[in-house]
Amino acid sequence: MSTIVIGLSMGMLLFLLAAGLTLIFGMLRVINFAHGSLYMLGAYLSFQIVNVTGNFWIGLAIAPIIAAVIGALMERIALRPVYDRDHVYQLLLTFGFILVLDEAVRIFWGLEYKQMYPPELLSGAIEMFGSSVPSYRLFIIGFGVAVSAALFFMLDRSRYGMIIRAASGDPEMVRTLGINVSLVRTGVFSFGAGLAALGGAAAAPLFPIELGMGFNIIIDSFIVVIIGGLGNIRGAVMAALLIGMTRALGYSYAPSWVDFLTFILLIGTLILRPEGLFSRKGRTA
């Protein structure tokens, strides 16, 4: 039982990152290498805010907002001038962001591990089906479900979601309709950055907060978005749960093979279905 809970909670965290990655890719056609760094930044910011205010919930609320502002600045200052160029340049820019963000974290918080605890309310464990499950993990699952539900509602039902979907499909047409597509791009990038930091802030009490945490999770997130199909947010949900469960099962039964399992999933996907395991059948040509 606890394996399932761990798997689901990991899947939810991965989904928060993958959703941002996939949204940004759909809108900007760029894969944000720095997404893991934003996740890490979220964890450090939340740690700092909790240290100052003593309240976990403030950290969880404020850290993503700060990251979203940073994300908006990144898009505005650096990415916007190079949209006309080959996509490789945008990828390279986001790679440059990793170096700068990691250095910023090193300057502010140093090299030591930081440790954070779940809030009082969620620090216990709950008996479920004969095994005890940390309630914070359950909270992450519930939180993840709530955030993804809100996300899907926003994308499918709201006016903003409609604009984002339309602008991903045909930015020129949307611009002709009088919508400021540049602003939408900034918004989506900023929103994705916020989601990554939200994931980081939520994950902060679960793992040691350290400089390498961004890169560890970004590879998994890449795997999730590729398996789910780039730009496909529904696929990302399934893929995130798949990878989360694979990791959790792997850790409890064959810890030294976990990384191989995920990579085999990735390589298998790329060979058999490069468009993603969960993409809907559809012909583009």
Binding site: L93, L99, P274
Partner: protein, 315 residues
């Protein structure tokens, strides 16, 4: 004299610095520049000429370093055949990568090469610990033993590295002007058209990726012998990132640009790291500014300036 010659002249000055400066000053720095240049020249064949952004070259670099170290230290091989083997193994790993990675293009190619190289990094740290020494790496990697020259002296080792470097530069120059180089440029500018003309795109891409892997393997082996050590850090993705920065900084797609990029990177590493411990972040800022402002790198900038100073005589 045209801009191309000017670049060649600059490179010549940098790499012959130990001969020009009194008492062979800067030889340690130039040795590192020579080795990383071999890596960067090979990387640019894939990145600059064929237009494929790989984030997995650390794998070939690191595997070459481990190959040379293990063959010389455990198997008792001589240095030169071990260096050859480092290149062969680097190329072989690149060939295996290419079978997976060339199925996809563009951003996917970058991601897949990154993931594959990270797999090798993880393997070296865990599964292959018996062979690689895990996170501790292997210390005591030897240098060549030839003609009774003491290559443990950096001043002497410089000449050995210079010879390998010039060979690498010549081969790369030949590839660039060969039909293979032209075909690769055709693929870069329009893959579909190149395929329609009748080029076997995938085979050409695989070939150049493998050649690039050989370059990386040789460079990795040489670096291990320069610093007498090999560790998993050489396989880490940040090594792939470093070579991307070097090539882009210097000027992708040019013969001499990557070498200038390496020189600036290494000089900054040497100088800035004595000034501040945050040099890597500063490097990141410079990298971002260069990517936005001068996508053709320093080589592009120099050529532009040269054309402006010499009106009429456009190179």
């Amino acid at each position: 004299m045209n801009a191309q010659r000017l670049l060649a002249f600059l490179v010549a000055i940098i790499i012959s610095a130990p001969l020009l400066l009194p008492d062979g000053q800067g030889v340690g720095l130039v040795n590192a520049i020579l080795i990383w240049s071999i890596f960067a020249i090979g990387f640019d064949l894939v990145f600059g000429v064929a237009g494929m952004l790989s984030f997995g070259h650390a794998a070939f670099f690191g595997v070459g370093a481990y190959t040379l170290s293990l063959l010389t230290m455990r198997m008792g091989w001589d240095f030169i055949p071990s260096l050859g083997a480092a290149g062969v193994v680097g190329g072989a790993v690149a060939l295996v990568f290419s079978y997976f990675a060339i199925r996809v293009s563009g951003l996917f190619f970058a991601l897949l090469t990154l993931a594959l190289s990270q797999l090798i990094y993880i393997m070296a740290g865990t599964k292959l610990r018996m062979l690689t020494g895990g996170v501790d790496g292997i210390a005591g990697v030897p240098r060549p033993d030839l003609f009774g020259i003491d290559f443990y002296d950096d001043g002497n080792y410089y000449f050995f590295l210079l010879a390998v470097f010039i060979l690498a530069l010549l081969i790369s120059g030949l590839i660039r002007i060969s039909p293979l180089g032209q075909a690769l440029r055709a693929i870069k500018s329009n893959e579909v058209r190149a395929e329609q003309i009748g080029f076997n795109v995938q085979r050409l891409q695989r070939s150049v990726f493998t050649i690039s892997g050989i370059y990386a393997g040789v460079a990795g082996g040489l670096l291990a012998s320069l610093i007498f050590y090999v560790g998993p850090q050489m396989l880490h993705w940040s090594t792939s990132g470093d070579v991307v920065i070097m090539v882009l900084l210097g000027g992708m797609g040019t013969l001499f640009g990557p070498i200038l990029g390496v020189a600036i990177f290494e000089i900054m590493r040497e100088w800035l790291s004595t000034q501040t411990s945050h040099w890597y972040g500063i490097l990141g800022l410079i990298f971002i500014v260069c990517t936005i402002g001068m996508p053709k790198g320093i080589a592009g900038l120099i050529m532009q300036l040269w054309d402006r100073i010499t009106p009429g005589g456009k190179s």
